[in-house]
Symmetry: C2
Subunit: 322 residues, 2 copies
DNA sequence: TCAAAAGTGTTATCCTTACACCCATGT
DNA sequence: ACATGGGTGTAAGGATAACACTTTTGA
């Protein structure tokens, strides 16, 4: 059936499964056994067209197998095919093409949904995603690591007179008075990678001119190209929040408006204006009151709301254009 | 090297190469030799990682080979992996995964750029894209074919009580007073496909309850899943016009504002308000006057402009939010 | 009565949309 | 002079962003 005169290509499917707990965005990882540093991986596996009719079915199957977890919304991100960047240990194939997916775990308690066997077998767990991208969390203001470590190192990298480097830096990192664009997560990671400032670049045999102490500043590394897929997932999710009501997949059935705002803030990595956020939610008719109030955490009790699924039919692009 | 116990997968790359002539968006096609009906194809070929380091390099290489054409901007659209939908004639592989790309041909005279040999060999030519999607051109008002043929047939398809069908129809085709969303090209094509109203659905062995006379109303067919890739390309291009200055890749170096507007209208498939369009162009500082005026086509001579490449550095998302 | 968090009112500004009119050229 | 397309001014309405203040609970 298979002929040996053709290059043998395998399709790898990787999923960035997002969850949420205590205003912290989480990402589902598995751990290579006996691993040291930088061995976090996204759940992934080979696509076998004989077993699964579509990519999506294959993906759901092995997220289920590796984490014992059901996922809700799934969407394709990007297919990475370049040589060298993400070799995977598959002796059957000469070349692995990896298709990245964004997936959302359903409900408010993702960690409890991981099955005990899966935890044993694959070391599945949810990790806060800002562990991998510390410079993407602006909720408490501009992260110090940017001005103290990242930008100086990036400036040095771009100081060779190559103007395109300087231009890309300017746009991705909001230099010269530009506003920080929370969606450019991938652009920023790619620049750090090219500058040799993240661990993966060294692992891939790149010219790394900086000592490994730098890697402690640039977040936890992942195996293969999984951190790149995660960056793509965060970019996409942040973009899509603005015109699709995806947040509600990550919330419980009932929630207060403040909880909703904190969740959006956690995902977008920035602080939002309370009144304007509420006006936006109301204007888009995204929620309806349940009539009950929450057990408060010290203060005035808050009204509880639920997602109005009907908006999906009413408006073409319901979201939170913040 | 290759082992015969694994399913053999091939990667197919397909490109939707967009050009423009006389306010008509064009798409580069090749023709199967001795072909009858529905044999238009996008330029495509297998990805061989031994010959090309990245997808994009492979893609450029065989667009060059099949059409003798240089392409400018290239971006990945989507990777289609579902069985049955797009079998391709490759005896070396059990399954073909197809990665679709959007590409823009450079300059104002794409047809002249096709080499004579390529035309002979592969029948390469540029076709108006609305030939494949007649219902997407609203420049002269709402297309008659919608109310006369497509919607009645779609209503019949959705009349089985399945509410999700009705909901999807409503959003994709702007029923019940919703506004037509020019970006939902793929959604609309997929609905027509599922309803068995396009030729490809019949070719794929689907249950086609309607006579083939309908196919004359639903545009020219393409081989494999190429029309789906084209629909994806148009969707993406229309979306991206709004926040990236892609139009200028399809224009000559100098142009009048009316030419620019007509071009955007051709791509977006709808009429734009003249003054507001001009204000938008000016507000975003997308162009600068050359100081010269055009040889007019009967009327007051128009000022000529050129694209201000600097905007790419000045603003994060320069485009024509129309 | 005070801390903590929920919830509201109001204004200045900008952007969008639409209106209608004038200008420069060839025939 | 008039047809043809180029080019502009202006005002209404809505969306946005920022201001600061009141309300309801638990301790």
């Amino acid at each position: 059936m298979a002929r040996s005169d053709a290059t043998n290509i395998a399709i790898g499917l990787s999923a960035a499964v997002v969850g949420l707990k205590d205003q912290t965005p989480l990402i589902l990882t598995i751990r290579a056994d006996g691993a040291g540093d930088g061995q976090d991986m996204l759940p992934f596996g080979p696509f076998d067209p004989l077993r699964h009719r579509t990519f999506e079915l294959g993906l759901r199957a092995f997220v289920e197998a590796q984490a014992g977890l059901q996922i809700g919304h799934v969407e394709q991100l990007y297919t990475f095919g370049d040589r060298g960047r993400h070799a995977q240990p598959d002796d059957k194939a000469d070349h692995v093409v990896s298709v990245g997916y964004l997936a959302l775990s359903r409900g408010a308690a993702p960690e409890d949904a991981i099955s005990a066997e899966a935890l044993k077998l694959s070391g599945a767990s949810f990790q806060p995603w800002y562990v991998y991208f510390p410079w993407e969390d602006w909720r408490a203001g501009r992260p110090d690591v940017l001005d103290q470590h990242l930008l100086p190192a990036l400036f040095e990298w771009a100081s060779d007179g190559d103007v395109t480097k300087a231009e890309r830096l300017k746009l991705a990192f909001a230099l010269d008075g530009l506003v920080w664009d929370d969606e450019r997560v991938l652009d920023r990671y790619e620049l750090l990678y090219e500058a040799g400032l993240v661990n993966e670049a060294a692992a891939d045999g790149r010219d790394s001119r900086l000592v490994t102490a730098m890697f402690a500043r640039t977040g936890r590394a992942m195996r293969y190209d999984h951190r790149r897929i995660l960056a793509t997932a965060i970019s996409r999710l942040r973009a899509k929040l603005k015109y699709r009501p995806l947040v509600f997949e990550l919330m419980g059935d009932e929630f207060t408006l403040t909880e909703l705002q904190k969740t959006v803030e956690a995902l977008a990595g920035r602080h939002l204006h309370k009144q304007n956020f509420r006006r936006l939610v109301e204007a888009n008719a995204l929620v309806e009151p349940t009539g009950t109030t929450s057990v408060q955490t010290g203060g005035r009790p808050a009204q509880l709301f639920r997602f109005r699924r009907e908006v999906l039919l009413e408006r073409p692009a319901p979201g939170l254009r913040v």
